[in-house]
């Protein structure tokens, strides 16, 4: 029977990466001078599992590498070795190296062997083994010895086997061993009944018999001994070669505790599988990262429950259909309501399956903060909260990089050096909070630092230098802060290798916007900054406001809508022809007439007859002039790009309850469209509004 073990690799890699995360987070919290036993145990267990799995699944280089790591951890665990901080850092590098090795094994790519070797040697040095190569040479010799012994002609062996009384209580059966010996050659046996007690003293659970066996086999002594390996402490055993009568050949296995088990031989048997496996992996090549998802079984159970209820509702409804009577209309309505409820719950449950706790994304930050603060000589404490908050897997994958960038930014530019902090009367250690929570249909992620805050004057000056604003513009603090998200903006005088990697905050903002989210910053000089990211929980569903223009229905994402109002013509100001501004309290906002943008008919072009939906995108408010507001509902987003092509002003389409297709408006793209259509007139209107 051959089994293709590569089918188990997915789970192995997944749990190994999880194991590495456990190791990393435990190592980061480890106090080298006084390590917590439970932490060391957790680290050891993770390494142990990776080693066991990699061996079984044929990743021998990972096994060898982890073996040294495990040995070191084992010595730490049993107090034979005292860790120091350098070694903790070495262990962290080991985790990184293992991660690379596992990634390479998974994707069938090559790995920097020199780096692996150097960490391997460092681990050996930590263990006090300087002569690494000698040990390896010795190992090779052992294999050779075994091989040479294996080539032998049939010999006669006399085996005396006298089990201890309690042998049966370990679940062992002499018969099993005899069967195994028989497989090695020709076996004859003679039982010694002399110790058998009289029947009234006989205990069926004890073993009174002993045996003298004669085995003619080509197998060597090791192989015979191996049959008795499990019971060597529970019996008297002697194995004697009959052809040579010298006493030196009598081996007492009981005394010989260090009987080598033929593990080297086993390992070499596994090796061909490795080669085959590597070749197969190289063929598969591609990155397997996001193709599978681990789902809590309770979520699957909930789903099955829902489907069960749906089936019941469906059968109930079809019964009404078969023998329809107008008297049952009440019940039919009830059934339909139930169907609606079932469908909604089913939808929510299906969405749940794609939801993962944000801890998957947060987990990398302790290490990042640890490394960065060491590098910069800052003292920073990272506090995480709301790690259990769930969000869609795709959103999570895409928010990773922007989050890293914001955290790097806070560490690099936000939190000050320890002496600066002390001078400012603040605690020496800065605090960086990462919070996540649900708010409405969104997930909110906050990155809060207690650093110096944004420097208004410097940002203003920089923006003027870059031509982003005019030197005499009067901007509110928030508007100035928002400038950091403008393209090509960087306040760091020197580009550091921490946050100045050529990616600006504008990219962060664009990435978040692509996910249908927004990012904003609040800052107070000397007290710190708060970056707030607001994201939809999922990319597949959106809370929308249905609006009507003429005969067309459009959907505006609820997240973009600030308010909707009945227009009052007195508040409207027309400037330079097409451009209309609406006075909204102390603000003027441009009126965007959807019917003219999309060139369709509307009920009435008079502002007094319609409604104004005030929406916001990228810090710009606009008033969308529509004929009517319809329902608010969740809509399933269908991509226009994959099914048709990208359409300016739209982010997608959806199918409504009555089967018609409705377009989902993309406010920021609409603003661009409006600007293009109104050309310079609009831009002056925007400027007026900003002023």
């Amino acid at each position: 029977m051959t089994i293709d073990i590569s089918q188990f690799h997915g789970v192995f890699f997944e749990e190994s990466f999880e194991g590495l995360e456990v190791m990393e987070s435990e190592l980061l919290e480890l106090d080298a001078s006084n390590p917590d036993t439970e932490s060391i145990n957790n680290i050891f267990r993770a390494a142990h599992s990776i080693k066991g799995g990699s061996g079984s699944f044929g990743f021998n280089d990972i096994t060898n590498f982890t073996h040294v790591l495990e040995t070191l951890l084992d010595e730490v665990r049993s107090d034979k070795h005292k860790l120091n901080q350098d070694e903790v850092n070495l262990l962290l590098s080991t985790v990184d190296c293992l991660r690379e090795m596992l990634t390479a094994a998974r994707d069938g790519t090559d790995i920097d062997q020199a780096q692996v070797k150097s960490i391997h040697d460092e681990l050996e040095r930590a263990l006090g083994n300087d002569s690494v190569t000698e040990a390896e040479a010795e190992e090779d010799n052992v294999v050779d010895d075994n091989d040479s012994e294996a080539i032998a002609s049939a010999l006669e062996w006399h085996v005396h086997f006298a089990p201890h009384l309690h042998l049966f209580q370990t679940g062992n059966d002499p018969l099993r061993m005899f069967r195994e010996l028989e497989e090695l050659g020709t076996l004859t046996s003679a039982a010694n009944l002399s110790k058998l007690p009289p029947f009234n003293k006989y205990d069926a659970e004890e073993c009174y018999l002993s045996w003298d066996l004669v085995l003619v086999t080509e197998a060597n002594e090791e192989q015979i001994k191996e049959v008795f390996e499990w019971v060597e402490d529970d019996c008297e055993l002697s194995i004697e070669q009959a052809n040579q009568q010298e006493a030196s050949n009598v081996v007492n296995v009981v005394a010989d505790k260090a009987a080598p088990i033929s593990e080297d031989a086993d390992a070499s048997k596994v090796e061909p599988i490795v080669d085959k496996k590597k070749a197969a992996d190289k063929k598969a090549g591609a990155n397997n990262e996001s193709t599978s998802i681990r789902v809590n079984i309770s979520k699957v159970d909930a789903l099955i429950n829902m489907v069960g209820e749906l089936v019941i509702t469906q059968s109930m409804l079809s019964q009404f259909g078969e023998e329809f009577d107008i008297k049952n209309i009440e019940k039919l309505n009830e059934g339909l309501k139930q169907l609606e409820r079932n469908t909604r719950e089913l939808q929510e449950n299906v969405m749940q399956i794609r939801m993962l706790p944000i801890s998957f994304s947060f987990n990398r930050f302790p290490r990042l903060v640890h490394d960065l603060s060491n590098k910069l000589g800052k003292k920073i404490e990272l506090k995480l909260s709301g790690e259990a908050t769930e969000l869609d897997k795709t959103v999570m994958e895409k928010i990773g990089d922007p989050l890293v960038h914001l955290v790097r930014n806070s560490i690099d530019h936000g939190i000050e050096m320890p002496d600066e902090r002390l001078a400012a009367g603040k605690p020496e250690t800065g605090t960086l909070n990462l919070n996540a929570y649900h708010e409405g249909g969104n997930i909110v992620i906050e990155i809060v630092d207690d650093g110096a805050g944004l420097n208004r004057d410097r940002i203003f000056q920089k923006a003027v230098d870059r031509g982003l604003i005019k030197a005499d513009e009067d901007l509110s603090d928030d508007k100035v802060n928002e400038l950091i998200f403008s393209a090509g903006f960087s306040t760091a005088e020197q580009v550091s290798d921490v946050s100045g990697r050529g990616v600006g905050m504008d990219v962060v903002k664009r990435n978040i916007h692509d996910l249908g989210g927004v990012v904003e910053v609040k800052s107070e000089a000397g007290k710190g900054s708060t970056f707030t990211i607001r994201l939809p929980l999922t990319l597949a569903i959106l809370d929308g406001q249905l609006i009507r223009v003429g005969t067309q229905t459009y959907i505006i994402p609820l997240i973009s809508i600030i308010e909707s109002l009945q227009t009052n013509i007195e508040n409207t100001k027309s400037i330079t022809g097409d451009v209309e501004l609406y006075r909204l309290r102390d603000d003027y906002i441009p009126v965007v007439r959807l019917h003219s943008i999309f060139n369709i008919a509307c009920d009435s072009a008079k502002l007094n007859d319609g409604l104004l939906v005030v929406a916001e995108a990228e810090g710009q408010k606009i008033g969308l002039f529509v004929d009517d507001l319809l329902a608010q509902q969740q809509v399933v987003i269908k991509s226009l790009e994959t099914n048709y092509k990208k359409v300016e002003g739209m982010s997608g389409a959806t199918i409504l309850g009555d089967g018609t297709v409705a377009m989902i408006l993309d406010i920021s793209s609409l603003i661009r469209l409006y600007r293009e259509q109104a050309e310079y007139k609009t831009s002056s209107a925007m400027n007026n509004q900003a002023a």
């Binding site: 990699s54 079984s56 679940g171 099993r176």
Partner: protein, 120 residues
């Protein structure tokens, strides 16, 4: 067909072991650690137990010790999955009442050969 109680905290090892055993026609009861195994063991009577040693909550040695205390498990073959580095694990296991062990790493064929040793 014989039933085997398998205990491992590693999902991939569990998957590999269970797939192999089921493929060979054995019935498998799965447990994720010693505590889980002990609670599952009480309701059934498997023909063999195959347990990892290093596990959270309850390790394999303690599990074997506890199982041996149960009347229906006095003679059940119990195998430990262990690594070569844990030499004294074997003697600890034996003292606890383990029948034998299978050394990691192992492949499916080695696993089946070992199981066949204890289930005739």
């Amino acid at each position: 067909m014989a039933t085997i109680l398998t205990v491992d905290d590693s999902a991939s090892m569990r998957q590999m072991v269970n797939f192999t055993l089921k493929g060979a026609g054995y019935e498998v009861i799965e447990a994720v650690d010693g505590v889980d195994a002990l609670s599952k063991a009480k309701g059934t009577n498997p023909d063999a137990v195959l347990t990892d040693v290093n596990m959270p909550n309850m390790d394999g040695i303690t599990l074997i010790q506890e199982l041996r205390k149960l009347p229906s498990y006095r003679h059940t073959p119990m195998l430990m999955l262990t690594t070569e580095s844990s030499g004294d694990m074997k003697s600890k296991g034996r003292t606890a009442g383990a029948t034998g062990w299978l050394v990691k790493p192992f492949n499916p064929e080695q696993l089946l050969a070992t199981i066949k040793k204890v289930i005739a």
